[in-house]
Amino acid sequence: MVDRLFREERGRAVATLIRILGDFDLAEDAVQEAFVQALRTWPERGLPDNPGAWITTTARNRAIDRLRRDRSLREKTETMTQLAELERLGGDETDVSAIPDDRLRLIFTCCHPALAMDARVALTLKTLGGLTTAEIARAFLVAETTMAQRLVRAKRKIRSAAIPYRVPPPELLPERTPGVLAVLYLVFNEGYAATSGPLVRLELCDEAIRLARIVAALMPDEPEAPGLLALMLLQHSRRETRVSASGVLVLLEDQDRARWDHDMIDEGLATLDRVLELRRPGSYQIQAAIAALHARAPRPEDTDWPQIAALYERLAERSPSPVIELNRAVAVAMADGPERGLPLVEAQAAQLDDYHLFHSARAELLRRLGRNDEALLAYRRALELSTNESVRAFLEHRIAELTG
């Protein structure tokens, strides 16, 4: 309980302390000490009225102690300035609204293009998300020491190369914002693509959504931020139905739509409708609009496939890719029949021969056309290429049906 609430609220304190101290580790340590104190006092004395303010104030006090104790720092003018600014943060534990929200700076620094992609992801989850190094390592299937090294190196580079701690100026924003959103979407997909894995994967989705909410709230002029949030909400609303009780992938058309998370769908649809009114479309908004058409269909046969095909076409105009073409081909097959979709799918054969979804989509259409022998070969090829256990179980099922 303390754990969850603390995680929700700690990001602001970390971000503000990094701004003042210019030091990720010192800031994180101070917030960690505040957490230890919360574990001791919250269960005993009850939750503070404003946990966010409590964490910021307590961590601030720990940082002040640290700066005063440390002889090598104490005499420096830099330390004096930092102390003065820490003290200005406000002494009571009730009001955090007076303290500027520094989380947007933090995320832009963590997602700076001068850092490697895996470092951006790790750093964002660690500092802003508050996942532990062990949790991040588990989620990305690397050893904890490897992940710790990655974090150390990233922080060292921020320092030695002087990656600025700020929201980029307006002229840089169009270039930098997509990078931030891409990190969040990567975190989400990492959780989403491995539905059968341990729970920590679902936690990645939750974390990505939480961070997208923050970015969307802090960047009111960026329509793609709520676009991405809506996309994640609409996809995540199906989490309970994407895999059967026995761990087999369930296709969209076979999912029990009553078990979709309808609160999450409502929030996703409302978020999308609001941002579409701005009439500044982008790739995430279009993808969210596609997800919305699925969410709005009470039964699979109610799905507006022609509209979905048209949206994939618009998406392809923006960012041409064989995977988008594949999705468009499947939508065309659903709208106009498998005989119309199959040639469009097969047109991507050269680019997507190593992609399991290409082969399973092709297999599905061949099966619907009654070309079972060819379908079987394509399912087998898809099975060779896929690693996710739920997907493999689904493909094995299909193969058994066709050979049985």
Binding site: H112, A114, R159, S160, A161, A162, I163, P164, P168, L172
Partner: protein, 124 residues
């Protein structure tokens, strides 16, 4: 905070360019250098002769040297020049580097390490 901008490119394509293209290219670099001096934090900068003019000294474990003809490593892109800039942060250095009149090639941006009088590294 100082940054070294190391400019790499394919030197053969440069030498193969027509005299007119070489002249416009040279003028573009003169203009760029002037811009750096006016508002880009220019500290120093030079172009280097092609790697055919390079001499490499190799040191063995005892510090003995072997002098050889040619660059340190045969690569597709060679170090062709550098600038040393004084900037507030990496974004400023990136902004300055991105205005270089390059068509192809790459620029490596390296922060310059600083040491105090006793030789201890000074962190920014």
């Amino acid at each position: 905070m100082q940054y070294m901008l190391l400019i790499y490119g394919d030197e053969t394509s440069l030498m193969d360019a027509s005299p007119e293209d070489q002249a416009t290219g040279a003028q573009a670099w003169v203009d760029y250098t002037q811009w750096l001096k006016d508002e880009g934090g220019h500290v120093a900068g030079d172009a280097l002769h092609p790697t055919a003019s390079a001499t490499t000294l190799r040191f063995d474990a005892d510090g003995k040297t072997l002098t050889t003809d040619g660059p340190f490593a045969e690569t597709k892109e060679q170090l062709g020049g550098y600038y040393l800039l004084e900037c507030d942060d990496l974004d400023q250095a990136i902004a300055a580097a991105s205005r270089m009149p390059l068509r192809g090639g790459s620029v490596e941006i390296r922060p310059v390490a600083q040491f105090d009088a006793e030789g201890k590294p000074r962190m920014p």
